[in-house]
Symmetry: C2
Subunit: 679 residues, 2 copies
């Protein structure tokens, strides 16, 4: 990105972003109307997108990637493919075949080692089916929705923003489009993200937009919640959803987990599992799907102590940071050590910074290209309602920059919400520097009087009284003092007027040694399917001079099969050696594949390359003679060496566990020269 | 079970079973009415149950198990607990805390190594959300249901068979119950399993059975499908279910998997994942839940070649087999090598036998008590609609014998069903011993005439014609030859009369070298939650003389944490040693826990015992002096040795990977004597 020619082309675009960024700042500073800010931000996003697309267009390595060719290979060798294809398939759902499943589970195994084991996290495994009240408290029932419209005759659904954009683009490209119409359309498209439901409905009506498939009328915009709904149990009375994220399972178990950790903070909880989102129109392959595996960490800590004991160990890790500020100024992302980023307050605290560095180390370890990874900070207006700072690890793919890991400081939001919804205090305690005397006020009730007057409601009343806040109690006191009654509302909506006969307020002082607080949460959240897809793109290669021979340069640590065994031909004499090697590889816990099918050795190498097998052992006629040797081939370089039969499994084990590199092997063992032919 | 005193008590019960078993055989032999057979079988089951309960009652070790005490420990140390408890909880759903999650994932890791890796299975990971047509074909939409009734006022649901049994038991125990009433009730309870929906409704009416909770009227019996239903996508038109088993995902991918295996049989496919069943009234803790993890294997093979290449390796494995025959004769289960069982045709083929032996080896490896494991053969009448032989691995727990692994020969059922539903031929090919000339008949159609007459239906007609069976084609020929018309029914129900103008039948001969066949499937299906629960019961112990000190004797291979590090006190001098040990254990990939909390060493040992940590390293004052040593303690025996600081991690690694036993350690290192006190 420091190429001066490219920068010259980008300069005017950068300027346009900066100009708009300044406008947004100005509007915010002078407290402009929310809608005006929203529109300015929408325009800012559009300008940013134009800039980004130009930047990508000027980066030839990404653009020359042949996605169709890779997808063909992934399908042909069943890394993954559409689910239920023989029944016509369902969009947004994929089945992972042997190679995809193994790649995924290797990525997850490394993730566990990298995060759970290394950081001694508490790993949990919570239910997928979630009753409605939990997701009401988390905000998902109300807010986790997209707007859509329906074809009134066929019932076909369209995501509203996509539909309007498509329709207006078509309108403004029509031959008879006036300049005014074109300008209007462009204006709306730019502001689309900032429009609310009614404004979008007005656009639909004004331009008389119909179904693009049938020309039929469309319904009013409908808010479509993206959660899959179902009924738990046979009564039809318990509404539930498939969880849209794994995080809530951790929050509702906070008390148990804190206790497991003997009441101490900080601690981190990890969970790997499936989540579900009923996308209106899923697309982009594995990037936007209805069913996906997440790996989430919730790191609970004292809100005033967000330093991290292991931060010093990662402080020198260099990250590409695309700050909110740079985004508003039209500047590009910048390199910085995470130590500098935290000390300059660009990244809000050490814990967030620590995880960002570890996320990068993990993504590099599985084979993501360092130059295709950046951390983009959320701008104030795009931050989720719960977050106080958020950086997305974005990976560059042929779909552009894709958000693969979100790293957010969720503050006390979630625990606070569940506390409010259940009355169960999801808090931690810390020892005060010195004991403190505090005044406590509580409601005391005359049980007899309550029971006599309210009979079976007395219990509910006592419970409701116990839940009153300090402010409520003050109000009770005021009311009763003035000889009045306090109006109490029960959870079921019933109200009761209570007087000084039945309740009173008691004051006392108490010496406390600890104080309660709601812990803060830092959440790194990994989308495993997206990471896996990006990794496949980054490792996809074709042989120079033979574009039909494609392969994946996946590192051995994640590769599904570590080694192949190829007898040179189906000569029966090779068999005992093949079997012996297979047994030794199993014993060494190395996944492997024997390919004794017919076909030239070159063709079989090509087949193993397609499924990313990094090393291949060939049994040939020299194997039959003492000293018994085999050849060992490296997938990436296609170079071969000749190794003693007894030694080869140890060498493969060392290569697969990165205790040995291929160049070291080349130095230690004689090269074996052979032309690979696939004929 | 060979104790003569016990056998004497069981003998009359065995006789009663045998008597009834003979009656069932007799009824079947003379082709009695289905209902009579069903009733006889129901009575047989009851007699079997009485026998089994008596047998269990005479086995004191199981009865003395204190389930409440274990459950208290599991809850207190958060192995697992009810989901969403702070929201009141949902029955039949559990969250696994750190210890439960880790135990489960260790069991699964060993499972992968034991089955997937060792047998080079293809592991897949398929979608959970499944569109309705797939589960219609598999039979789940129609048959996967239980009968229930609803309280007409509150909507409360009851499983019908449980409800009737409970109501009649209460009736017959009432003071005013006549002998006739008691006999009638007993008779119905015995025959309950054999009654159909109408007969059960009649019982409800005859005894005027009401809701046991409210006394309200009950609805008519309703068939309640146990699958969770939802909508896929926003239109509300695509009905889907959460999968009730993982197997169907494998069957619908059969073609891709066969191709991945280069067209060869046999091969096995494995899948680990969650399945869902909307139980009417879940109970028995982890045994009957709504959301559970399964590990399933589908082994595809030629139906006439069900031998297994590795069978010889397991032929001497001794299994406890409870054959259908022994069950009908009131005999107990019998020991046999799997080799003898297959050669005597008790187990139907080598492949089924091979998996039964491997299942046993796996269950022993994770710590299931050998004397509490048996394989029970399904009797003809309880076999699922698809199975041709089925053996359940049952584990004895305080809930009785629990089915934990089902090992079924599903024959060609599933692939046949999906072929019929989709028209995609899920078949394999095999080379014929010699080429064969076959006559082929096919429909030829006059495209022009078809198009002219049937317009837009022409395509659907052509497709339907291509799907006609050989019998259909013969019928077409007969009809047309007699100058008539062939009546074709389209999938949408429309019919068309086709005459010789538009279609005809062509005959030809063809030389074929291969023949197609539908592979047979052998399916071992593991319920991971049930296995895990059984394992916890089998490994639960209390210290002799101190019944409050409980622990689990889980083997190191599955134990969540392999080692604890306990500094003797919070003396700061211990810290560098604690840290060094922790670093070394991480490097050796050994999960561990540092417990530097206050509390006596004995109390901390007790805490680590509760979460099954098999080995504990204590840093004490001798550690500070050269030669630096620590103590190593064994959970099961509570014995300790003193070991050099540098050597201890290697010893723990060897112990954890079973390369070393604790008695070997006792011989190699000096014992360390110390009274454990929890005071």
């Amino acid at each position: 990105m420091s190429n001066p020619e490219i920068e010259a082309q980008l300069a005017p675009l950068r300027e346009r972003v900066q100009e708009q960024g300044n406008l947004v700042r100005e509007l915010k500073a002078k407290g402009a109307a929310e809608l005006d800010v929203k529109k300015a931000v929408a325009e800012l996003k559009v300008r940013k997108k134009v800039l980004e697309e130009k930047e990508l267009a000027l980066t030839p390595s990404v653009i020359s990637f042949d996605r169709a060719k890779m997808e063909d290979l992934l399908k042909r060798r069943f890394f993954y493919d559409q689910s239920f294809a023989i029944y016509g398939g369902i969009t947004g759902q994929y089945d992972f075949g042997p190679m995809g499943c193994s790649l995924k589970s290797n990525i997850l195994a490394l993730w566990r080692q990298f995060f759970s084991l290394e950081e001694q996290m508490l790993e949990v495994d919570c239910s997928i089916l979630t009753p409605e009240p939990v997701l009401k408290a988390s905000g998902h029932v109300e807010r986790f929705a997209d707007l859509m419209v329906k074809d009134v005759k066929t019932g076909e659904c369209f995501r509203l923003d996509h539909l309007i954009k498509q329709a207006l683009e078509k309108l403004s490209k029509a031959k008879d489009a006036t300049a005014t119409l074109q300008a209007d359309c462009e204006d709306i498209i730019i502001k689309l993200d900032g429009l609310n439901k009614q404004e979008l409905a007005d656009v639909l009506a004004k331009y008389n937009i119909k179904s693009p498939l049938t020309g039929n009328d469309l319904s009013e915009p409908i808010e479509f919640n993206l959660m899959f709904a179902t009924q738990i149990g046979p009564t039809g009375l318990v509404k539930g959803y498939l969880r849209p994220e794994t995080a809530q399972g951790i929050f509702v178990n906070f008390k148990r987990l804190l206790e497991f950790n003997q009441g101490r903070l900080p601690f981190a909880v990890a969970q790997i599992g499936n989540s579900f989102r009923n996308e209106i129109s899923p697309r982009s392959g594995l990037i936007r799907v209805r069913e996906f595996t997440m790996a989430e960490i919730e790191h609970f800590c004292d809100p005033v102590l967000k330093n991290h004991p292991k931060f010093a160990g990662v402080a020198n890790e260099k990250l590409t940071l695309y700050s909110a500020c740079n985004q508003m100024d039209g500047k590009s992302a910048q390199q910085s050590t995470i130590g500098d980023a935290v000390s300059s307050q660009l990244v809000v605290n050490e814990t967030l910074g620590y995880y960002m560095a570890r996320i990068q180390q993990f993504l590099h370890a599985i084979g993501i290209k360092p130059e295709c990874l950046r951390f983009r900070q959320h701008m104030g207006n795009e931050m989720a309602h719960y977050a106080c700072d958020c950086w997305d690890a974005e990976i560059l793919t042929s779909y552009g920059w894709v958000e693969c890991v979100a790293c957010a400081d969720r503050s006390a939001y979630d625990l606070g919400q569940h506390t409010a919804a259940t009355g169960v205090r999801l808090v931690a305690e810390k020892r005060l520097p010195a004991p403190k005397t505090v005044e406590v006020s509580e409601i005391v009730s005359n049980k007899q009087a309550l029971g006599k007057t309210y009979k079976k409601d007395a219990k509910a009343i006592t419970e409701a009284l116990a839940k009153l806040s300090l402010d409520d109690i003050k109000q009770v006191e005021t009311q009763l003092a003035s000889g009045g009654q306090y109006k109490l509302t029960l959870p079921d909506g019933a109200t009761h007027e209570l007087d000084a006969e039945t309740i009173g307020v008691k004051h006392a002082t108490k010496t406390v040694h600890v104080e309660e607080f709601i812990p803060s949460v830092v959440e790194p959240s990994f989308g495993i399917g997206r990471i896996m897809y990006s990794l496949l793109e980054h490792s996809f290669q074709c042989r120079e001079g033979d574009e039909q021979r494609c392969y994946f340069t996946l590192p051995p640590v994640v590769t599904p099969i570590k080694c192949s065994i190829l007898p040179l031909s189906n000569n029966a004499e090779f068999q005992p050696y093949t079997q012996k090697l297979s047994g030794a590889l199993t014993k060494a816990e190395l996944s492997h594949k024997v390919d004794d099918s017919s076909g030239s050795i070159g063709r079989r190498y090509a087949r193993t390359d397609e499924i990313a097998i990094p090393y291949g052992i060939t049994v040939d006629f020299d194997t039959l003679k003492a000293p018994h040797t085999v050849t060992l081939r490296d997938r990436n370089t296609m170079k071969q060496v000749r190794i003693d039969l007894e030694a080869v499994v140890g060498v493969v084990k060392d290569l697969a566990t990165t205790r040995l590199t291929w160049s070291q092997v080349l130095q230690q063992y004689p090269a074996f020269e052979q032309q690979e032919t696939t004929k």
